[in-house]
C-alpha cells in the first residue's frame, strides 16, 4: 500500500427529492487500499458507491479518480468496476461470456481475453466453469462469477456493494477471507460497502462509518474500535455501553464524571484530549468485554465497583452476554458485559446480585453525534 491518493470525493451532497441522502461527505482512498463504507441501511453508503461508479451524480461536490475529475463522466468512461449486491450476471451469456463482456468493451484483443478468463476464474476458485450457464450456478458461485467479471478487466478501483449480503453465514466467512486474500494479490483498491461491522473489521485497511448521510469517523479498524469518536460509532461498532454523564471539577489531565447522576468516576485523559468544561453533559462509552462480573468481593486493583443485579443473560457459545441492572434511578438502563464462556457458567441467575468492575482507563468520552 502506498500513500498515493487514488480516489478523492468531496464534499459531496445529494438529495432524492426533498430527502437529503448525503451531507458533505469527503473521502479519500489510497492506491491499493481496502476501504469499507460501514453503516446502517439508509445511511448513504450505497449512494456514495453509486456516485463513485457514476450511476448517480452529486448535487454538489466533485469526484476525482487518479487525479482527473470524473464527476460528469458516465459509468462506462470510468476505470472502475462494481460487484453488485444481486450479482447482475447476464443470464443470456455463459460464465465465460459474462467475464469477457467488460474486456470486449475495452477492446482487449481476443487471445488476451481467452487467456484472462481462466485466470480470473482460477482466482475465484471456479476453474473449469467457463461453459456453465448462469442459471445453473448457486448463489455463492454467482457471486464468484460476478467478482471474476469485475476483476478480469483490471480496473484501478473495485467497488463492492454488500456482495456477501445474500450468502449464508459460513459461506460469508469463507468469502471474507478470500476477498482479503484476493485484494492483497490483485493490488488494486477496493471500496467495500457493508452494514456488518464484523465484516468491516475483518477485511478493511480503513473504515468510514456512515450515519444519516454523514461520515462520523474514518480510521483503521483498531482505531475505530478502541477510540470511537461519537456515541453512534461506539454503539454501532461492537455495541458499546453508552451513558450520559456530567463533568465535575477535577484534577489536571483527568475528567471527573458523574455517570447517569449516580456513579462517580475519575477518567484519565489521553494526551492532547481536551477536558470538557465542568458542568457540561457528555456521553461516555465502555466496551462490554471490558466489564468484569464477579459474584463475590474480589475486585481487581483500581477498579470501579458497581453493585448490580443480573437482568438477563444470553449464551453465545464462545462467550456469554450479561445484562446488568446497576442504576437505582433508571433500572431500565442496563450495562452489558461480555464474559468468556469458560469464565462464566450458566445458571438460573436472574435477579442474582453481582458486582461489575470497570477500570477507569476503559471509559472513553464521546463527542456529540453529528
Amino acid at each position: 500500500m502506498t500513500d498515493e491518493t487514488l480516489l478523492e470525493i468531496g464534499p459531496v451532497s445529494k438529495s432524492f427529492g426533498e430527502a437529503p441522502v448525503l451531507r458533505e461527505v469527503s473521502l479519500t482512498v489510497r492506491k491499493g487500499e481496502f476501504m469499507t463504507l460501514l453503516g446502517p441501511s439508509g445511511c448513504g453508503k450505497t449512494t456514495t458507491l453509486r456516485i463513485i461508479a457514476g450511476f448517480e451524480s452529486p448535487d454538489s461536490g466533485r469526484v476525482r479518480l487518479a487525479g482527473a475529475d470524473v464527476t460528469d463522466l458516465p459509468p462506462y468512461e470510468r476505470d472502475v468496476h462494481t460487484v453488485f449486491q444481486h450479482y447482475a450476471l447476464f443470464p443470456h451469456l455463459d460464465v465465460a461470456g459474462n467475464i469477457a463482456f467488460g474486456m470486449r468493451m475495452d477492446k482487449v484483443p481476443p487471445p488476451e481475453i481467452a487467456r484472462r478468463i481462466p485466470e480470473a476464474l482460477a482466482m475465484v476458485k471456479l476453474s473449469g466453469f467457463e461453459k456453465r450457464r448462469v442459471s445453473s450456478l448457486s448463489g455463492g458461485q454467482m457471486q464468484r462469477v460476478a467478482l471474476a467479471r469485475a476483476i478480469a478487466g483490471k480496473p484501478s478501483l473495485l467497488l463492492l456493494d454488500e456482495p456477501l449480503g445474500a450468502l449464508d453465514l459460513k459461506l460469508r466467512k469463507e468469502m471474507q477471507l478470500e476477498l482479503k486474500r484476493l485484494h492483497r494479490r490483485l493490488g488494486f483498491a477496493f471500496v467495500y460497502v457493508t452494514h456488518d461491522q464484523e465484516e468491516a473489521m475483518t477485511m478493511s485497511d480503513r473504515i468510514a462509518v456512515f450515519n444519516k448521510g454523514r461520515i462520523e469517523q474514518i480510521g483503521a479498524p483498531s482505531e475505530i474500535y478502541e477510540a470511537p469518536r461519537t456515541s453512534f460509532v461506539a454503539d454501532f461498532i461492537g455495541g458499546a455501553n453508552v451513558f450520559s454523564a456530567k463533568v465535575l471539577p477535577g484534577a489536571e489531565g483527568r475528567a471527573h464524571l458523574l455517570i447517569e447522576d449516580e456513579v462517580e468516576v475519575d477518567v484519565p485523559l489521553d494526551p492532547g484530549e481536551s477536558l470538557p468544561a465542568p458542568g457540561r453533559r457528555v456521553k461516555v462509552g465502555i466496551r462490554p468485554e471490558r466489564v468484569r462480573v464477579y459474584y463475590k468481593d474480589e475486585l481487581p486493583f483500581g477498579a470501579l465497583r458497581l453493585d448490580a443485579t443480573i437482568a438477563d443473560s444470553i449464551f453465545l457459545g464462545d462467550a456469554c452476554q450479561i445484562y446488568l441492572r446497576f442504576l437505582k434511578s433508571a433500572p431500565d438502563k442496563l450495562l452489558t458485559a461480555l464474559a468468556g464462556g469458560d469464565r462464566y457458567t450458566m445458571h438460573d441467575d436472574l435477579g442474582v446480585p453481582a458486582i461489575a468492575a470497570i477500570q477507569p482507563d476503559d471509559v472513553y468520552i464521546l463527542e456529540e453525534d453529528a
Partner: protein
C-alpha cells in the same frame, strides 16, 4: 368418490362446450356430401377444391402478407413502447400513458373499424394493403407491448444494463448486448400473437378491405351468404390448424428463454 365423478363430468362438459363445435366442423370438412346435414363418407375433395380455387389462394396470400406485416410493425413498436414504459423515470401521468396503450384491446372492434374507415376516407387515403396493414398493427400493438413489458419487468433489466455500463458499454451497446437479447423471446412471442390476431381478424378487414384486398375471413364471410359449404369447413379447419401450430411455436419460445452460449 361421487364428488370426484361429478367434477370429472363437469370438466368433460366444459371442454365439450368449448371444442365440440370445432370438432363437428372438422369432421364435416371431410364429408363427401355437398351439404352439412348428412354424412356420406370420408373425402378430401373439399380440400382439393380449396387449393384449386385461384381467388381463394390469392386471399390466403394476402392474409399471410398482412399478418407478417402487422406482426413486424407491432413487434418493433411494441418493443420500443414497452421499453419506454418500463425504463422511463416516473412522471405525472405515466400510468395514463400505459393505460392508453392497452385501451385498443377494450374498444369494440366495430367502433375501431368505423373510426379507421371514416378517418382514412376523410384524409383521402386509399383503402389499400398498406392501410389495412397499419390498421392490423394498431389492433395487435397492445398484445405486443404487453408481452415485452412483462418480460422487461421480470428480467431485472435495469440492473443488468447498469452492470453492462459499469463494464464499459455505452447506453446503446448495453441495450443491444443485454436488453435486446433478453427481451427477444417476448418480442417474438408478442409478434406471433399479433400474427394470429391479424390472421383471424374479420371486422377491421371487412371495414377496410378495398378493391382487390380480400382476406380469408372476409372471403369466408362472403361465401357464407350462400350457406355453409364443406369448402368453408375445410378452409376453417386449415385456419384452425395454422393457429394451433403458431400457439405451439409460441409455447416453445415461452419455455425456452433463448439463452445462447457465447464463445470466449
Amino acid at each position: 368418490m361421487r364428488k370426484g365423478r361429478g367434477l370429472k363430468l363437469y370438466c368433460a362438459a366444459l371442454y365439450a362446450f368449448l371444442y365440440a363445435p370445432l370438432a363437428v366442423m372438422t369432421v364435416f370438412s371431410f364429408n363427401r356430401a355437398h351439404r352439412n346435414v348428412v354424412w356420406l363418407g370420408f373425402s378430401l375433395k373439399w380440400y382439393g377444391v380449396l387449393f384449386h380455387d385461384a381467388e381463394m389462394m390469392r386471399a390466403a396470400l394476402t392474409t399471410l402478407e398482412l399478418a407478417v406485416s402487422a406482426s413486424a410493425i407491432s413487434g418493433a413498436l411494441g418493443l420500443l413502447a414497452a421499453y419506454a414504459l418500463v425504463r422511463h423515470k416516473p412522471f405525472p401521468g405515466r400510468g395514463v400513458y400505459a393505460t392508453l396503450l392497452d385501451v385498443p384491446l377494450m374498444i369494440p372492434e366495430v367502433a375501431l373499424g368505423v373510426g379507421l374507415l371514416s378517418f382514412l376516407v376523410r384524409m383521402g387515403y386509399e383503402l389499400n394493403f398498406g392501410a389495412l396493414a397499419c390498421a392490423h398493427a394498431l389492433i395487435c400493438l397492445p398484445y405486443a407491448v404487453g408481452a415485452v413489458r412483462a418480460r422487461l419487468q421480470s428480467s431485472g433489466g435495469e440492473r443488468l444494463e447498469e452492470a453492462a455500463m459499469d463494464l464499459g458499454a455505452d447506453e446503446w451497446t448495453a441495450f443491444r448486448k443485454v436488453t435486446l437479447p433478453l427481451a427477444m423471446p417476448a418480442v417474438v412471442s408478442g409478434a406471433l400473437l399479433a400474427f394470429t390476431i391479424s390472421f383471424g381478424d374479420f371486422v377491421t378487414s371487412f371495414f377496410l378491405s378495398g378493391i382487390g384486398v380480400t382476406t380469408l375471413p372476409v372471403k369466408i364471410y362472403s361465401m357464407m351468404k350462400f350457406g355453409v359449404t364443406p369448402e368453408i369447413n375445410a378452409l376453417s379447419v386449415l385456419l384452425l390448424a395454422a393457429t394451433f401450430v403458431l400457439l405451439g411455436v409460441n409455447a416453445l419460445f415461452a419455455s425456452n428463454p433463448g439463452e445462447s452460449s457465447v464463445r470466449a
